[in-house]
């Protein structure tokens, strides 16, 4: 089994399969839609409609690249407010046409910059959270790489949250954690151990619902294994989720997050 240090290395490799590759493999007839209708088209987020085994769905993904050029185009998977707003527009569209939503997440974090603040990065994430919590169609989120803090949860308030075996999900990077809490970035290894950021750890503490199998050295070494498991799991899970009434679905989603957090009373 990979250590957390191994996983962090694997997850940051530029060879790691991206959202668009999973989308192309898993769904049929993907039609990509662009823009938030407010400001711009954020290329760090891709989204559109497709068929999952014949069922119409809306698919959204945070997109990284394999090369420097691709990564510059995709802003290294760091989303601006317009990216979160594009995703929300597509989710509301999914609700209108009664299509389930799938989100693929792979970001070190929401982008930190002047424009992002001017256009309300906080508001964009906050809006997604409040809207996703009451979106009347099933949502499944899959963390395929890095699940970086607010930038990740902005697309992961879902009925089911899954993670690939070699992915991570955390409040911030282990480097950031070590430098904030211990003023020593060299202790990031220790931070990573403490933070419980791997798929297995997060399944254990019931933050996520499922771990998707992956080749030990990373999903790019056996892409079909991982992509096929995602596809089969999605079909199975949506069959289940679609059997609930809207009220039941929303109640279950509410309770899922309602129970998170630990305190004494």
């Amino acid at each position: 089994m990979n250590t957390v240090a191994d996983i962090i290395k694997i997850v940051r490799k530029t060879t790691r399969p991206t959202s668009l590759e999973y989308i192309e493999h898993i769904f049929d007839g993907f039609v990509e839609f662009h823009g938030d209708r407010l400001f711009a088209d954020d290329k760090a987020v891709v989204g559109g409609i497709a068929l999952l085994n014949g069922m119409p769905v809306t698919v959204i993904g945070i997109q990284k690249g394999h090369t420097i050029e691709e990564n510059v185009l995709r802003n290294f998977g760091s989303v601006h407010p317009e990216g979160y707003r594009k995703a929300l527009r597509l989710m509301k569209q999914a609700e209108k046409f009664n299509r389930p939503v799938i989100t693929f997440i792979n970001t070190a974090g929401a982008f930190c910059g002047i424009g992002a603040e001017e256009r309300g990065q906080g508001e964009a994430i906050a809006r997604n959270l409040i809207e996703m919590s009451s979106l009347k169609v099933p949502i499944i989120s899959i963390i395929i790489g890095e699940g970086g803090s607010g930038g990740a949860i902005a697309l992961a308030l879902a009925d089911k949250v899954w993670m690939l075996e070699n992915s991570v999900y955390s409040i911030l990077s282990p480097e950031g954690f070590a430098s904030i809490l211990w003023k020593d970035v060299k202790r990031s290894g220790e931070a990573a151990e403490l933070m419980k950021m791997t798929a297995r750890d997060l399944l254990d503490i019931e933050i996520i619902d499922k771990v998707i199998k992956e080749h030990e050295d990373g999903a790019e070494n056996d892409f079909d294994l991982t992509a096929n498991e995602i596809k089969l799991s999605l079909i199975e899970e949506f069959n289940e989720l679609r059997s609930f009434s809207t009220d039941e679905l929303l109640q279950k989603r509410y309770e899922k997050f309602r129970n998170m957090g630990e305190y004494l009373e």
Binding site: A110, C112, I114, G122, E123, S134, I171, L194, M260
Partner: protein, 289 residues
């Protein structure tokens, strides 16, 4: 659920303990202090109850008890959910010890206090965050108290007013802190769907996961002048984009200019402004002239 019935009446002008944490301006009676905005030295007694700089009118950071004192009607505040206490879910080294120390220093149990109160005679639920308590950071207790406050307000058809003051998520509780953003948002959504009013009052500082969740979800978003409000920290942005940030960046006036808050209100006028907004919403749509 007997927690909803439990009420502790808290006097609203509790003396603050002597040694305050270092990151906020130290306000002690009979002392001189420096205004963080105009940097003039001010005699503390001159600050009055509102703790506003006599030179530049900048509102100083204040704690829960000062905020209660200038916001709620006398003898109307009853605290809710006061017995929820911090745990150490990640076994973070020395976290319990740190919490104990901060409790002793600040005289409060966590970074938020919740309760029922009246503001200018209008009944509402109120939550007040305190930046003296580990920078008002949001962990499980803050998340749980604010979530319960929304649920209590929804159940009792009450408006809710939240004063935010937070550096963001409580790092020591790891992923649990991140999940509070989702938990609170879901409770806020239910309050919203019932047609109830939510007012946020952003105070200095409101950043990170608090900005990216309930701070920005109000029907009405007010702010105090000059409050720092943003998602990312200024240093993180400078390190990312390798350039200096413009003057006034992420201040309340900057957010007003960019359309993200409804109104900047002077501290001395906040109580009346909130009271007026509550009053207007308390009149049903069917009550026409």
């Amino acid at each position: 659920m007997n927690i909803f019935k439990k009420k502790t009446y808290v006097p609203i002008n509790i003396q603050r303990p002597d040694d305050e944490p270092a990151q906020v301006p130290i306000i002690k009676d009979g002392m001189w202090t420096k205004c963080p905005k105009c940097e003039k030295t001010i005699y503390v007694k001159e600050l009055s109850d509102h703790k506003v700089c006599v030179v530049c009118k900048n509102p100083f950071r204040i704690g829960v008890n000062e905020r209660l004192g200038i916001t709620v009607d006398e003898n109307t505040f009853s605290e809710l959910f006061a017995n929820i206490r911090t745990k150490n879910p990640m076994n973070f080294p020395n976290y319990e010890k740190k919490i104990d120390e901060v409790c002793k220093k600040t005289g409060i149990q966590e970074a938020v206090i919740s309760g029922e109160c009246e503001i200018n005679g209008e009944k509402c639920i109120i939550c007040i965050m305190d930046s003296n308590f580990i920078m008002g950071s949001m962990g499980s207790v803050v998340g749980e108290k604010i979530t319960r406050s929304f649920e209590h307000a929804t159940e009792n058809n009450l408006p809710i007013v939240i004063f935010t003051a937070s550096g963001g998520a409580r790092m020591q509780e790891g992923i649990n802190s991140l999940m509070q953003m989702a938990k609170i948002s879901a409770a806020a959504a239910r309050h919203n769907e019932k047609g109830l009013l939510y007012i946020t009052v952003l105070t200095d500082p409101t950043t990170g996961g608090v900005t990216a969740s309930f701070a920005m979800q109000g029907d009405v978003i007010l702010s105090e002048p000059n409050a720092l409000i943003g998602f990312a920290g200024a240093r993180v942005i400078e390190n990312t984009i390798k350039q200096k940030l413009p003057e006034g960046f992420q201040r309340a006036e900057f957010l007003l200019e960019h359309g993200f808050i409804d109104k900047i209100v002077k501290r001395e006028e906040l109580k009346n402004t909130i009271g007026n907004i509550l009053k207007i919403h308390s009149i049903g749509g069917e009550e026409v002239l």
